[in-house]
Symmetry: C2
């Protein structure tokens, strides 16, 4: 019986797809988002533009996949793998996931704009929101096993709230309501805040200390940084 | 000396503007968002379409203002005014602000879509995000005066996070990642969760009890509702 394959699923095709994403990311780094055109990426990758459209649907799809590819790489990196599984790893991922925003804010602003303005015709936008939730959910499952969470916490709902809050902060930044520094600081802080009411004592105290760390690690945005004690 | 006026700022003009928004809201209620066209609203309001465009820039601007007008009315309503100023009032506003989502989800989906996809050319979208922050900020100022908040809390930052989280949950709903019931439940729950780490003991305990209330008041979205104790 023939194995049912998704689109573009052979080894060769997956390899080609990876190469295209790598080329896209290189061009993003050297020339910024203005440099990315479908024709140019096709030429760099020795594929026809027709093939490129077949794989990524359109330029938006290609940009979203390039960002997802970067995130996958960061999540798989050593600094995440050495973080304690569960909530510490979730926060390590959040922190590392801010790197692309710092390195290439213009590109990430476009990515956020594509995702938040997405409709059913935007390829991969739903997956992108879903990916944040999935990462949170997986970490929460481990956190529950490790008794980091109070009993009865709805992991599905908590992971949805974490994803919503992450996208909310990204949206504020994309709409120029907050600066890049605030985006990074608030993304980290927000997850810590959200998790505190759900954690058991040891982890809760660890999170409360972490709130203090963020307060001192990053330049405060106003003269009264968030503090837990006077 | 002539008094400097903003656009459309005389009594008559403000009155006319109110009437237009009232007409828009009536038509929204009777026919839904499909029924709203600039020509039709102009005719109903006995103004030229040119005047209508002068005031609201475009249909998106009119829809945003109609939603803002509804929110203003809700915030000014008796049930908010009788709520204890500070954090209880903030949560009362959050709860009441969910009414338009329940009453006219299609309209509110469009409003959220306009706001999240906004750029510098979208009239009033930034104000709309800013409005949520301002409502939160005002409530937090009172909360600080009433010793509901731990000392040193950065009200500006906390109000930004509250606004971000509200828009994040709305975005998840607009993108069909969560249901209307989840939107309402998570919007309320999210603010409670966010505030807990910043509150002094009495208010904190009140919020923790409120987490339980939301758990039981609204149909749980999964078999394991959020609970604080086993």
């Amino acid at each position: 019986m023939a194995v049912k394959r998704g689109p573009y699923d052979s080894d060769l095709q997956r390899q080609r797809r990876s190469q295209i994403l790598l080329n896209t990311r290189e061009l993003l780094e050297s020339e910024g988002i203005e440099g990315i055109s479908m024709a140019r990426i096709a030429k760099m990758s020795s594929v026809s533009t027709k093939t490129l459209y077949n794989i990524f649907v359109n330029r938006e799809g290609l940009l979203l996949q390039a960002a997802a590819n970067r995130l996958d790489e960061l999540v798989g990196s050593a600094s995440i793998q050495i973080a304690t599984p569960g909530i510490p790893r979730l926060l390590a991922i959040t922190e590392l996931a801010m790197l692309p925003f710092r390195d290439n804010p213009e590109f990430m602003k476009t990515v956020v704009a594509i995702v938040v303005a997405a409709n059913e015709n935007t390829p991969g936008a739903g997956e992108r929101v879903g990916r944040v939730q999935m990462l949170a959910y997986d970490a929460l499952v481990v956190a529950r096993e490790n008794d980091e969470l109070k009993s009865g916490v709805d992991l599905q709902e908590l992971s949805l709230i974490i994803a919503a809050n992450q996208w909310g902060v990204a949206l504020m930044w994309q709409q120029n309501m907050i600066s890049l520094e605030q985006l990074i600081r608030q993304s980290n802080l927000n997850h810590v805040i959200t998790l505190i009411p759900f954690c058991t004592d040891g982890r809760k105290q660890w999170l409360e200390e972490r709130m203090d760390t963020f307060q001192h690690a990053i330049t405060p945005v106003s003269k009264q940084p968030i503090r837990l004690s006077s």
